[in-house]
């Protein structure tokens, strides 16, 4: 199973409407902005949980690309640092495999909006392959 296929098969990925963009040296996931993803209507800003979920999904897609398994890897833990509030715009994420072991993949991921140098959030997690 590959990343794009996984996004099509995971109901929550379809719910968020996450897409894949091919980019230099890897894949970039895109979370299109939608009003019903807002957590703070006054700012407005995406719900922190949605940002966290998008990071985890981006990490998962990268793990699937690499592991090329038929099963969806299971998350063991995931940690998110919220760096800036995520405004009412599309969000992009790119993941990097820190370590790909026999059973565990450690994946780091970063998300941004307009400027890749200004991350809105960063995450790291372990997945059971």
């Amino acid at each position: 199973m590959r990343g794009r296929q996984a996004l099509a098969q995971i109901p929550y990925a379809r719910f968020l409407d996450v897409r894949i963009e091919e980019a230099d040296g890897g894949i970039v996931c895109v979370l299109p902005f939608r009003d019903d993803l807002v957590g703070n209507a006054a700012l407005p800003a995406l719900h922190g949980g949605v940002v966290g979920a998008f990071l985890e999904l981006t990490a998962l897609v990268q793990a699937i690309e690499l592991a090329d398994t038929e099963r969806v890897p299971k998350p063991i833990n995931f940690s998110v640092d919220y760096l800036r509030s995520a405004g009412p715009r599309d969000t992009r994420g790119r993941a990097e495999i820190v370590k790909h072991g026999r059973r565990i993949a450690n994946v780091r991921v970063v998300a941004w909006q307009d400027d890749p140098a200004k991350a809105v959030a960063a995450g790291i997690g372990n997945f059971l392959l």
């Binding site: 719910f15 993803l37 700012l43 719900h47 995931f78 919220y82």
Partner: protein, 178 residues
């Protein structure tokens, strides 16, 4: 009418004083998520709030599934549940309403959540300082003693100058009061 709240082992009777959101601790607790678009979209409800704690319920929906074979809810959805419960626990700790923002959050997925069951997330703000709040939370679908996820989070307090939705909601209550 007295309302009883349980804070991890110790019972507290009557509506407590000294909390900015005390008037939302009872039947009005639903207002804590009503004005949040994503919570409305997910059908999230507030089951219980009290001093420094909150319990939130998220109905199971097929669209939230992360593993199409096992039909288990996606891990990131549990992040949303626990982030929200944690944020409410921080709000319920404040003597004076301020904007808050999640600084970091770490989740351990202890086991798979059972498909088809509502997810319940409970959080407790165990330490509040001038600028930072520390929270622990867990989530379960059957028994609080058998959680499928546990979580630690920190929040900035007084995070940004713009008004929080919670502050607006509270002010509109005051306006509506006879």
């Amino acid at each position: 009418m007295g309302v009883t709240f349980a804070i991890l082992g110790c019972g507290v009777s009557d509506v407590p004083e000294g909390f900015a959101l005390a008037e939302l601790f009872g039947a009005a607790r639903g207002e804590m998520v009503e004005h949040i678009p994503h919570c409305r979209r997910l059908g999230m409800t507030v089951e219980q709030v009290g001093p420094r704690s909150a319990r939130v319920r998220l109905p199971y929906r097929d669209e939230l599934v992360g593993d199409p074979v096992r039909r288990v809810v996606f891990g990131g959805v549990i992040t949303t549940l626990l982030d929200h419960a944690s944020g409410l626990a921080v709000f319920c700790s404040l003597a004076e309403l301020k904007a808050i923002a999640t600084l970091d959050l770490r989740i351990d997925y202890l086991r798979a959540a059972e498909p088809g069951r509502d997810l319940v997330g409970e959080a407790q703000c165990y330490k509040l300082t001038t600028h930072v709040a520390f929270v622990r939370a867990s989530a379960w679908e059957r028994e609080p003693s058998d959680p499928f996820a546990s979580c630690l989070a920190t929040f900035m307090v007084g995070a940004n100058p713009s008004e929080s939705p919670m502050a607006r909601a509270l002010r509109s209550r005051v306006r509506e009061a006879p």
